[in-house]
């Protein structure tokens, strides 16, 4: 057994471990006996013991050995109970190995597997994204039907996770759940729909994959995300790119018009002669008619490419430069199937490049090139020599290259190709030689000019010493001769002589067929051949025997005098042959040719039957018509439909409505369009630096962007206060906008009304009559759009690195602009943009100490927002967080007392602003006051001690705090949704103070905007254990709505949710780290009685929050 060596190694390693662990008595025997099957039982006993010990290292060692067993395909299922106990281990590696094991065996041991589920459920709430992700991965890999609902819940939750990595794994889990229980399809589609909207490049590939598996026919889900996907594509990871490109190819085939529609008509008109394979001639009448119809349509309406079609082509093109062959192939097939003929050429170079890669890659690429060369030969002609064959190529590659060379052959290059073939024929690789001869035959049939040259060459090969070469030549010559037999009777004679030497059955059969078919050209030789054959009949192979019978029959019909007896002899031999085919044939032939009284009318036509003029064979490429399979697919490679293959649809006759791809923009125009822009910045750090911005892809971006701005611009006519800000971006994309405008007008003509336009009209009508109901409706829609937007900004700002990077990028950009370039126009433009972007940044991620340059914009905007809101809302306490919390209401806590701090006092408050470097952190504003008489220098943090999972972003060092002065700084703490304190040392240049910050539970959340309906829906999902109700009597001062709102929002960072009833106040928020919803309802009754209800999936938070709010309302 080859594994013995491995076991020995293991034994050694084990011994080393055991040296320090004398406590395991059985292990001494295990090393020696390990490799033998008979001791399987014993060995597992030993493993079990190791697993049950309380030494981590032993457990780990045991798991490693178990993984080794699994890797060899051995059964380790009986260890399940011992292993499953370790699933909650703290040791990461041990845990990982247990996961590996669970995934493998959970299906076999369902009951036991269920024991581990709770661990995963707990891990799904872990503050660390990687633990959440791996818990989901494993949970969803356990193929136990009972846990389907749990999986479903977990997926839904993970799809809304803040971490894109977790969302990515949730997309993967969708497929797993779908294959486990297809009944969940509808619900899963909802999740897919949600994830498709995700803006993270990390998620895009995975969710499209899930889409392809679960609901590939729901093309409608793609519309709204189409442009986003196109624009994200460059930055998606390689594997995701392949999946997205393939899906978009299919999408484009359903949504756009054939860009080659005019050309294909031209081709049909004139190209019949040029097509060697006569594909056009074979077409049915009605198909032609159809084409003619299409032609008529095309003539009426000149083809204009849909801008979205163009966008796709433009954004995929750079990926031809990818190092990943699969990506290059995906783009190549996209161009082949979607691009106008004139543009397809760009892919040739990239594909030829792949021929330098591993031989497997070459194999697949050549297959696809072979198909392409049939349709579009010109594309690869310049690269002819790249397909030349080396003697060191593997045979399968040689044959494919030969195929491509043959397809590329035409009148101009045939002589070079034939010269090249000449060298191939001498190769030692006989299979390859045979293929070359076939190729020569095909060139000869296809190109009339060289037919004779080829034929002569092949005839020369007949004297080759290698029998295989001769045989192959005979077969090919036979086919060629059929085209013009009368000219070549000498060749036929020559071949007749070969029957003495050639033993390869196929070749013998071919020669016999030739002589029979053209026996009139060789009247003297033919009977002699038959004589020889009759002699050797019994020893021939079956195909040869059949041809002998054929020959005999034909000769009998043309020259019965000489051959009658011979024929009878042959037929008699055949009558007793072992093979029933041959017996049947003989009987059949005899009935036909030998006239008897019984034989019917058929024998009269015997001559016609046997010696009918047969059409010359068409030697065609095996790759002909393969392109009805999507290129690059497995189905194409196998030339058979593989399971799960999605047909590439035919182009539509008329393009479906292009406006479905227009993205509706929520009414908070300004912010959202800006946010989008910013987010694009974040997503595309590499291709969108200053120089790149003017490039074609960028312009595509701005095109789609402007689409949204125009939409939104039209939607927000009434909001004058913002127009000043808008103008900048409008300026930028003016031209595109015009286009868009035109398009939109067109759409308006065609289509009744789009949702956006609806709201626009609504708005304008509202301005006219200002009816209160309308207003309220408007309000609702407004708050709806809020929530959408809020979600967007959440998900996008979650990875902390992105923010960091962004600011860095801005800095470098500045630097570059400053140092390198003379201030050209584009640079200046860039600077302008840059400034704006910075201000945008700060709008979302409000820095507590903003740079002066930014401040005015900021205040201007928030002011304008506030005024807008005032104009729109019914009560001023509803929407804006700024209006909810009067700034004075922020409670200050003491961090360091003046006395203990020896003159330095520090207070902190939870500023309730999003902490920009990391959205998972709670912003804590520190206020330093130097009460002493000397300056304090170098104030900074040190020695941060935290509970696991918690993180801290330190405040920037304060270099100098003069005596008597105050200053403030902001730090971020990720409390992991717990009220554990963050301990650290506050250090000055002389002293250190131990301090700690403990958050009240109400600060662990941030407000979210929900509509009444959403609130109810979410509340409905958080029932049971997740709901806590308390009865209370309200404080006397706190019996009106305003006061309640005030007190609740002071106690917890929540936002008000609109509510139809005036007896109820509702609030909503999400916990900062895990983003779990927190819903609070205060229902008032008579006489100050009230009921408080908190719904939160984090029960601890819920309970604590109830306590805090109760306190706030009753005091």
């Amino acid at each position: 057994m080859s594994t013995a060596a491995l076991y020995n190694d293991q034994g050694a390693a084990e011994a080393a471990v055991e040296a320090g662990q004398e406590t395991t008595p059985t292990s001494s025997s295990s090393g020696a006996a390990f490799g033998l099957f008979s001791t399987d039982f014993k060995k597992n006993e030993d493993l079990k013991e190791m697993l049950e010990s309380n030494k981590e290292s032993l457990k780990l060692e045991a798991m490693k050995r178990i993984v080794q067993l699994i890797s060899k395909g051995k059964n380790a299922s009986e260890l399940f109970p011992a292993i499953v106990k370790n699933v909650a281990s703290k040791n990461i590696e041990l845990k990982k190995l247990v996961y590996v094991y669970l995934v493998r065996y959970a299906e076999e041991q369902q009951d036991l597997a269920l024991l581990s589920i709770s661990t995963f459920q707990r891990a799904l709430k872990d503050p660390n994204q990687f633990i959440r992700a791996s818990a989901l991965r494993v949970l969803s890999s356990i193929r136990v039907p009972i846990i389907v609902p749990i999986m479903m819940l977990a997926i839904k939750e993970a799809a809304a996770d803040l971490s894109p990595y977790v969302r990515k794994t949730s997309a993967h889990a969708i497929q797993k759940l779908h294959s486990l229980d297809p009944d969940q399809k509808e619900q899963l589609i909802e999740v897919i729909e949600k994830l498709l909207k995700d803006k993270s490049t990390l998620v895009a590939g995975s969710v499209v994959m899930a889409f392809e598996e679960v609901c590939p026919d729901r093309i409608d889900l793609i519309h709204k995300n189409y442009r986003k996907l196109c624009n994200l594509l460059v930055d998606v990871e390689e594997w995701g790119q392949v999946v997205i490109i393939n899906m978009l190819t299919r999408y484009a085939r359903t949504q756009f018009l054939n860009p080659n529609i005019n050309e294909s008509l031209l081709e049909e008109g004139s190209g019949g002669e040029k097509m060697f394979y006569g594909s056009d001639e074979d077409e049915d009448e009605d198909e032609k008619e159809k084409k003619a119809e299409a032609a008529a349509i095309a003539k009426r309406k000149p083809y204009v490419m849909d801008p979205d079609h163009r966008l796709l082509l433009r954004n995929t093109k750079p990926l031809l430069q990818s190092r990943n062959a699969a990506v290059v192939m995906a783009v190549a097939q996209l161009y082949f199937h979607l691009a106008p003929k004139a543009e397809v050429g760009v892919i040739a170079k990239a594909l030829v490049r792949l021929l330098r890669s591993h031989s497997e890659v070459q194999f697949v690429v050549l297959q696809n090139v072979a198909t392409m060369t049939i349709k579009r030969r010109g594309m690869f002609e310049p690269y002819l020599k790249s397909f030349y064959i080396r003697s060191t190529d593997p045979t399968q590659i040689k044959v494919l290259k030969l195929e491509v060379l043959t397809n590329l052959a035409n009148e101009t290059n045939i002589s070079t190709i034939l010269r090249e073939f000449q060298t191939y024929i001498k190769s030692m690789d006989k299979d390859f030689v045979a293929a070359t001869i076939q190729a020569i035959g095909r060139c000869a049939t296809n190109i009339g000019e060289v037919r004779d040259t080829c034929l002569n060459g092949l005839v020369q090969l007949l004297s080759n010493r290698d029998e295989l070469v001769v045989a192959e030549s005979v077969v090919v010559i036979k086919k060629l001769l059929q085209m013009q037999p009368e000219k070549h009777s000498d060749i036929i004679k020559h071949m007749a002589k070969l029957t003495d030497n050639i033993q390869v059955p196929m070749a013998r059969a071919s020669i016999l067929w030739l002589i029979g078919e053209y026996c009139e050209h060789v009247p003297r030789i033919a009977p002699d051949v038959l004589r020889k054959m009759a002699k050797s009949f019994t020893n021939e192979e079956d195909i040869v025997k059949l041809q002998i019978i054929n020959l005999a029959a034909k000769l009998y019909l043309t020259n019965s005098k000489q051959t009658k007896l011979l024929t009878q002899y042959v037929l008699n031999l055949a009558k007793y042959d072992q093979n029933y085919d041959i017996r049947d044939r003989a009987r059949f032939v005899r009935q036909l040719i030998v006239p008897t009284e019984k034989s019917g009318a058929l024998s009269k036509y015997a001559k016609k039957l046997f010696l009918a003029l047969k059409p010359a064979p068409v030697l065609e490429s095996p790759f002909k018509d393969r392109d009805h399979f999507q290129l690059g697919s497995l189905s194409h490679l196998l030339n058979a439909k593989a399971g799960g293959y999605q047909e590439l649809p035919e182009w539509p006759e008329a393009a479906p409505d292009p406006s479905v791809r227009n993205v509706e923009v929520p009414e908070w125009t300004k912010c959202s369009s800006r946010e989008k822009r910013k987010e694009k910045k974040v997503e595309k750090p590499f291709y969108s630096d200053s120089e790149g911005e003017s490039g074609p892809t960028e312009s595509a971006d701005s095109e789609s962007d402007s689409a949204s701005t125009t939409d939104s611009a039209s939607a927000s006519v009434s909001e004058e206060s913002e127009s000043g800000l808008e103008s900048e971006s409008e300026e930028e994309s003016e031209t595109e906008e015009e286009e868009e405008d035109k398009k939109e007008k067109k759409n308006q003509k065609k289509e009744p009304k789009k949702p956006v336009q609806e709201s626009e009209s609504e708005q304008s009508s509202e301005e006219e009559d200002r009816k209160p109901e309308k207003r309220s409706k408007k309000l609702k829609s407004d708050s709806e759009s809020d929530s959408v937007e809020d979600e967007g900004s959440e998900s996008e700002s979650s990875p902390s690195e992105s923010e960091d990077f962004e600011s860095e990028a801005v800095v470098t950009k500045k630097k570059k602009a400053a140092e390198s370039k003379p201030p050209s126009k584009s640079v200046r433009k860039e600077e302008k943009k840059e400034k704006k972007e910075m201000s945008l940044l700060d709008l979302d991620d409000f820095e507590p100490t903003p740079s002066p340059q930014v401040t005015p914009v900021n205040t201007l905007l928030s002011n304008s927002l506030a005024t807008d809101l005032e104009g729109l809302s019914l009560s001023d306490s509803i929407l804006s967080p700024a209006t909810i919390i009067p700034s004075g209401a922020l409670k200050n806590y003491e961090l360091l007392h003046r006395i203990t701090g020896e003159g330095l006092s520090v207070e902190y408050c939870f500023s309730r602003q999003p902490f920009s470097p990391d959205a998972n952190m709670v912003a804590v504003q520190l206020q330093f006051t130097n009460n002493s008489t000397s300056d304090t220098k170098n104030l900074h943090m040190e020695d941060v001690r935290l509970q696991s999972g918690m993180r801290v972003k330190e405040f920037p060092e304060i270099e100098l705090l003069p005596a008597g002065e105050m200053t403030s700084a902001v730090m971020g703490i990720d409390f992991c949704d717990s009220t554990q304190a963050a301990n650290f040392q506050l250090c000055s240049h002389t002293k250190k103070f131990f301090v700690s910050i403990q958050p009240p539970v109400g600060e662990l959340m941030r407000p979210v905007f929900l509509t009444e309906n959403e609130f109810k829906k979410e509340q409905g999902q958080l029932m049971g254990m997740n709901e806590i109700t308390e009865k209370l009597t309200l404080d006397v001062k706190c019996r009106n709505e305003h006061a309640i709102v005030q007190r609740v929002t002071t106690a917890a960072n929540l936002s008000r949710v609109p509510c139809g009833s005036d007896k109820e106040c509702r609030f909503a928020g999400r916990t900062v780290t895990s983003s779990s919803l927190v819903l609070v309802t205060v229902a008032t009754r008579e006489e100050g009685a009230a009921q408080l209800m908190v719904n939160c999936e984090k029960m601890v938070i819920g309970t604590m929050l109830v306590k805090d709010i109760l306190l706030a309302l009753t005091q």
Partner: protein, 435 residues
């Protein structure tokens, strides 16, 4: 035992994941590792592969894609090992092939080589890697920079320490790389010596015919980088003559737009070794062929011997020294032995594989290396139809044969001054002389 288990299970409906299982098979056809991402597929599925392997004789000739009644087998051949993956549904074959190569690359990087013994020795790490690289059949983390943060590569020292202390190969801190905006670079890289080296390596692919004329020639180049820089450096590499490049592919770190607009390579590099770009210089007349080969190989029609004479001389070497010159000839099967004299270097002839290797070394333009002598042939066998072709290997230091030159390397984003260096090397790629 494992097959019994499987036999009981009914055939499942095609499941959606791209890659279902992976089998590693050695040269002699033993399956020495299997990994299933979902339900177990019996090893017996490999029988179809073995059948094809048997038929193909040469492992290079095993079709990379095979169809079996219930599955499709997609395989690659790397380092005398077959990586055989099982898929059940439509998937782009290149996707799987590319991924398998990436797996092999990762093994190579982790263990220094990709061989059966090394994989067996590190089976636990291999399993952990495979688990991270593929989730439900879909590639998850394939960047080695990210993987290395999650699973530490073994070093001799660490494995000793691990065995003594029971330590682990898994990183203590969980990775942040996956989420960084640049997936190929780890965060928080620190070096005391900051250095960035670039090797411009060009290979000449050529077919030269009997008479010495070039049938086909092109240059394939790569730029291999070894970058050890702290922090987040942003590099810009520019060329004196970028127009030379005909076609190229880039590491994902390269900003394509910058290249399109300015023909400079602008990138935030991965940490460590990586291939920055590969390129292609075509146009036959541009390609300088550094050596010429005069050869005369003949097999006599009668009698059982043949003659061989080869002389190699410098052609267009741009004034540089040609080193590591070597000629390899695949002799016809009927050549039993050779008796030759080499004026320089030494030759070996392998009787089983029929490969003649002449290792010449440095090419001395004053005294051209020459190999001559007789070949003894099997008696009674007709003389070979074709003369064997000669494959040439050579190296020229400090020269990029296409003339490509790096003009400068700039770094932005970090303050320190890195050591920078560019090396050039020209090699023979698939350089074949027909005889």
């Amino acid at each position: 035992m494992e097959q019994q288990l499987d036999g009981q299970k009914p055939v499942q409906k095609a499941s959606p994941e791209m890659i279902h299982s992976l089998f590693l098979i050695n040269h002699s056809g033993d399956i020495f590792l299997e990994k299933h991402w979902k339900s177990v597929i019996s090893r017996s599925v490999c029988d179809y592969f073995f059948e094809a392997k048997e038929k193909a004789e040469d492992p290079e000739n095993v079709p990379p894609v095979l169809q079996t009644p219930h599955h499709y087998l997609i395989s690659i051949y790397r380092g005398k090992l077959f990586f055989l993956s099982v898929v059940q549904t439509e998937v782009p074959p290149l996707f799987v092939i590319e991924f398998l190569h990436r797996v092999a690359d990762t093994f190579q990087e982790y263990f220094g080589e990709c061989s059966e013994s090394v994989i067996k020795d590190n089976v636990v790490i291999v399993y952990e890697l495979l688990e991270e690289m593929l989730d439900n059949g879909f590639p998850l983390a394939t960047e080695s920079n990210v993987l290395k943060e999650m699973i530490r590569p073994p070093t001799i020292l660490r494995s000793v320490v691990n065995t003594l202390t029971g330590g682990s190969n898994v990183g203590d801190t969980l990775p942040t790389g996956q989420l960084s905006i640049i997936p190929w670079r780890r965060a928080g890289v620190k070096y005391t010596n900051n250095e960035a080296y670039f090797d411009v390596i060009e290979e000449i692919d050529a077919i030269v015919d009997k008479s010495g004329t070039t049938v086909f020639a092109e240059i394939q180049g790569v730029i291999e980088a070894c970058v050890r820089l702290s922090g987040m450096p942003d590099l810009t590499l520019s060329f004196m003559n970028p127009r030379l490049l005909d076609d190229m592919s880039f590491h994902p770190c390269v900003r394509f737009k910058r290249w399109e607009a300015e023909r400079v390579l602008s990138f935030i590099p991965p940490d460590g070794n990586f291939r920055l770009m590969s390129y292609h210089v075509s146009s036959q007349n541009l390609v300088a062929i550094p050596v010429y080969v005069k050869q005369n190989i003949s097999f006599l029609e009668t009698g059982s011997c043949g003659r061989l004479e080869i002389t190699i001389g410098p052609k267009q070497t741009m004034g540089k020294m040609v080193e590591a010159l070597m000629a390899t000839i695949h002799m016809p099967k009927s050549v039993l032995s050779v008796s030759l004299t080499a004026s320089q270097g030494s030759y070996t002839y392998d009787i089983t594989t029929k490969i003649l290797i002449w290792d010449i070394g440095r090419l001395n333009p004053q005294k051209l290396p020459n190999l001559r002598g007789s070949l003894s042939m099997q008696t009674g066998v007709p003389k070979p139809e074709e003369n064997p072709s000669i494959n040439i290997d050579l190296k020229i230091q400090q020269l990029a044969i296409s003339g490509l030159k790096v003009s400068r390397l700039d770094m932005y984003g970090e303050k320190y001054k890195p050591f920078k260096g560019v090396k050039y090397l020209t090699k023979a790629g698939k350089f074949q002389v027909r005889t």
